[in-house]
Symmetry: C2
Subunit: 239 residues, 2 copies
């Protein structure tokens, strides 16, 4: 196989942005940590991460192995895969722009994660619930509109796509963001969606791309759950 993806097997998480790109492009890849057998599974992922002989050891999953190259950080992986999977226009200025948008997605995901973990990764959610409620209130009132309104403007200015004229990895990421927000914060998202008609239309078109639709209907698509980045804790959404 051409690409080996390494990511936590039980969650969509950050890896999902890479999975969507690989699936939409029908790339030849394996999702190593989700397989069993020799050289597969989470153990294989961890031992590759901790392999002292690696030139460029990843700090954290996801990472992608292709030949001898090991690339980590979601946006970095997508920047590498984009031109190879035909998921970004070829011109340098378009690639820089797509990457910039993807880096904003990265920033936004940190903020999503910190709604349920505002104090420490090392603590359980239940041990930081008070802070989580307070943080989520501001996240939903200030940050979600700030990011999504910006993405909506970009999408509107570019005739319904994020970058270029064809499907890009940024379009796929917008799909995933909307799905995640709908899952984690259904009431707020329902209320805010009318602000983002272009993004919602883009989300619908992405869901209808045959390879994406096939992926979403398959067992390869892990359902959202409360170990991932987008978590549905109803108490965080209610005032």
């Amino acid at each position: 196989m051409r690409y080996e993806l390494y990511y936590w097997p039980g969650i969509q998480g950050r890896g999902e942005f890479v999975r969507l790109a690989l699936e939409a492009a029908d790339a030849d890849y394996v999702d190593v940590a989700r397989l069993s057998g020799r050289g597969k599974g989470v153990d294989a992922m961890l031992s590759l991460m901790n392999d002292g002989k690696l030139d460029h050891p990843p700090f954290a999953p996801p990472f992608l192995k292709t030949g001898k190259l090991v690339i980590s950080h979601t946006a970095n992986i997508l920047d590498y895969l984009g031109p190879r999977l035909d998921l970004v226009p070829k011109a340098e200025h378009s690639r820089i722009w797509a990457h910039q948008l993807q880096l904003l997605v990265t920033d936004f995901l940190v903020e999503v994660h910190d709604t349920h973990h505002p104090v420490a990764l090392a603590l359980y959610y239940r041990d930081q619930k008070t802070e989580a409620k307070r943080r989520t209130r501001y996240f939903l009132s200030d940050r979600v509109p700030k990011y999504l309104d910006y993405f909506e403007d970009v999408c509107a200015a570019n005739r319904g796509r994020m970058v270029g004229r064809a499907l890009s990895y940024v379009d796929l990421s917008m799909f995933q963001l909307i799905e995640g927000l709908r899952y984690a914060f259904p009431k707020t998202t329902r209320k805010l969606e009318p602000r983002w008609p272009r993004l919602i239309a883009l989300r619908d078109r992405v869901a209808d791309v045959p390879r994406v639709a096939a992926y979403l209907a398959s067992k390869r698509r892990i359902p959202f759950n409360e170990n991932g980045i987008f978590r549905h804790y109803p108490e965080l959404e209610s005032r």
Copy 2:
């Protein structure tokens, strides 16, 4: 001039990582928002950001203008400047690796920022001090060692530099991280520094690079202060 940097004029912040690269390479640039006059200053920055006619509007400073290109997001700007300023090796795999390290710096900076703003950007520090204390405790005990130990390992494996054999923008960023930690969390940093002998040696060598030393001694280097990312609030460090 060749490059126009746009960033908040009163803080080092994220812009400092770009300033250090431009200064170390003796690049032909202007720090637009710090100048006064027609087409200069913060107003010029804000009006460029909000210029509806821009193809690729930035979400937030810093951004770099060069010719017609406007590039935002610190790591993205450095990825663009790196080869042009000779601050990264030319090979694609080295550039990907340098960028990956810089993206970790980005992640780390979010965590530094959130020590004093764990609830909301929209609130003053004093209105989230309780949460800030709790978050900082975990940040200093878990996160600082996790990131810095990793950077130390990278630096050790590469004979005292982060990437390649010559000064890179990642070396400059390591200098800035150490400076920031020393400013914001002097007690903890003093205690932890012996874990990072290679990084500290690298910091010292960067500080001695003549152009860097000249920059640091100049008025162009804004002092750390409590509006930036690294803030010294003594109460956050004491148990």
